[in-house]
Point group: D3
Chain length 185, copies 6
């Protein structure tokens, strides 16, 4: 039943406003068991000159990229072993944690660590899920891994999950869990 109205300064793309409306719908739906069709969101846009906080007009906060789209871009660059492009998605304080608790702060470290473990690996994704926090977003994605063991034999269907933390449109952390050890037993 709830009606949500949002006032924003005009200038955001259609895609951003729809992402906002969808996120607000889900925020309501996660709190109140209303039928989804009873949740209405209307975004009211005002001209920049029509909005004042503290007696001053304001520059609207920039739209954030869709966190899931950004994470996909990073994962594609990694799969293509295009480390330069992949690094462009990372914040300076980036840290990643892999099974067994191994932590790295650069993609090169990860590559070196993975070498004795598998020749290559490809991810198939079952789902991406994005979560809004106070200061950034979190993206979870899970699915299965396929690739080759160091001895050249193939594997596939091995479960994995990644957790990405984003701040201001850059990835600050990646955590990885998977069943590679379980399967390699």
């Amino acid at each position: 039943m709830p009606i949500v109205r949002v006032t924003v300064i005009e200038g955001y793309e259609d895609e951003v406003r729809q992402r906002l409306a969808r996120a607000l719908t889900q925020a309501v739906r996660s709190t109140i068991a209303a039928p989804i069709d009873a949740i209405t969101v209307a975004i009211e846009e005002v001209k920049p000159a029509n909005y004042m906080r503290g007696g001053r007009t304001r520059v609207p906060g920039p739209a954030l990229p869709d966190p899931a789209v950004l994470v996909r871009g990073f994962l594609e660059a990694m799969e293509a072993r295009d480390l330069a492009r992949a690094s462009g998605f990372l914040a300076p304080e980036f840290r990643m944690t892999f099974p067994g608790g191994a932590t790295f702060s650069s993609l090169e470290e990860l590559i070196a660590w993975a070498k004795p473990r598998y020749r290559f690996v490809r991810k198939s994704y079952d789902r991406f899920e994005t979560l809004a926090g106070d200061s950034g977003s979190t993206v979870y994605c899970y699915g299965t891994l396929a690739g080759e063991w160091p001895d050249g034999t193939a594997f596939s269907g091995i479960r994995f999950i990644d957790r990405f933390e984003l701040r201001d449109g850059l990835i600050v952390g990646q955590m990885v869990w998977n069943d590679l050890a379980e399967s390699a037993r």
Copy 2:
């Protein structure tokens, strides 16, 4: 900068309205890089007789329990091996998936499967994260496991992550990843 106003029928508890306001704040923050202090949410309550959709007054959708609180309740019951209490959190269609892809539809199956793997296990939680979907909520929690191997030696600090899917206040799915195999190698 955005101003969010929500109209709801009166009757929700303070805790629910605050959860709603927080979820809406985060929905905005995940889309627009506004400073968090510039995001304002006001919930406007109207009497039941003051709201009509389709020319009829409506019964407000019931407040949903906080998904993270519900999942904690389930996890505590599991840790206490109180299967009856734990089952009360589960929907009839409940399914769980464990490392290696083992799937169960009852807690008893899980217990049987786990017996040769560890004597017992306790979870320490680093974080719970809740995510609103169109038809339910997802809760992620991750942290570390401590316990005893079948031979009685202790382990601790082993990473895990759980993903719970909730619908209408019941858990319909649990997915588990952890480093137990990695550690047991």
Copy 3:
């Protein structure tokens, strides 16, 4: 799809606010072919001290009686031949027009005119319809008449329609059409 929000000073009865919400729903529905369930009305009440027009607080306009209820009251009094009670529903400028164009300004004139036409008449109502105007309301009601001709033979099922004009809670005009002459031919 439209969302209608109304701000009123608090103090109206539930029944009045619901009548208002229903009238607003119908106003939308008569203009836009939206599915009725997509039309939402919320009435926001403010304290008398919270409303100012022209820099002055205001006494809210009194709720009007439901025009259809008022007209029913008049018709019941007429059927019971309680002219004193019936007259209490009439404004001083009241005028009524009957088949053939006969006009009266008092109930007594009507009674005299009707005497040679029928011994008595009772109305069965198919429908009451109320219509909002700028300065008052109009009520239509139609159905069938049953009664006795002057010679004592009974009649029934004779179509009629009445149109009532109301201003400030009083009836200022009544217009009557029926098939009595058609039937009496």
Copy 4:
């Protein structure tokens, strides 16, 4: 005193929005005895991408034709004996009821029935009144008839009232009362 704000998806013509605003004003005025000048209506338009119900953008309900304009079109076609054009205003389930309770479902039946009653008839209208219902609109119009009796003598000033029921821009029913029999006595 009431303030009415309506949120609609942009795209309706000026004429439609003004019809909507007027209908809302009258809806308020029929319930609360506020001075008409104290009733304010503001229609707020949002872009199609800015409105979501159930997490999905919506196509706005089409504007309905002004019911009174539509009924006038039908009546003009009837007076011009342009049955083809007149039939274009009618829904398949159309039914009409005339004095004495005669009912027809086609204009041709009506013409045949009327032949022995008058050579021709023209309507002068005193007033059209439109009423919004949950699923459609009702139009009342009344005034006087002029024409010729079967014997060629002229008549005029004979009272009539018509009631039209509309659904989705088509006429589904017409009910007619008049003083022709009264006058022909």
Copy 5:
């Protein structure tokens, strides 16, 4: 904390809307000790056809000139001894009151009165302050006077304050206080 939303008919210049937003911010700040950055104002514009009061669309009230800008224009014309231009700022009922209680209704009277008091005078302004009233605005300005006494000796730094009353964009009254007599002692 307060959120102020204003609905106006579109058509006002950016400058006017910002003046309005600033005036509203200050109105809040003068009543509630909220941090200025917590006071938000959003002006929502509707098309002329989207606004009705009393069932009629309305011509928006014209924007008023900035009262302080208008008063400055008058003071500049006075200093340039351009009485024709200065008179253009005055309403027919204009009256001015000078130290000692001398009152004039024309600029010529003032000039004559001032002649034995000083050869000429120039104003330096410390501040202009504008105040909104129910039917017009008041502008205060204060600062110091410099000029020459009748005997040709110079003076400067003499305190003054002027109070201007404006109605519908014209000055209806001016009151003047200063320390000229104090200094001339």
Copy 6:
């Protein structure tokens, strides 16, 4: 024509909300030449738990005392020569400026300075005017002085104007202009 709606956390007294509504009305009236009766203000109150900025509930800013009432209190204490009470209205950084440019930071200095100028003085007030600024309020009051010269002769009807600057409910500055010197010439 403008409609002003304000959302505040509930808890302010009626008097404060009405002062707020009046100040907002005047803010509109000073910018747009709308008829005063066309300016509508509605204050919408939400519960403390229903308002969040930055994801946190907020304590509403305290209501400020009516600045004119506060200044009157100070002036009454001064006239009663109750310096202790008068000092209670003053901020530590208080400064006052009197005719001729004399400045004091304590009431005692003022008393000493005034002694050779007049035996005593009483103020009659024509008007108090309050003005909202970004960080405080300004109060102007003007009228006439009556009292006795040092030689005991009486005076009256001598024009004066005071300007008070207030911050957070205390007076930080007073500026005084009057015609005492003009009259004493």
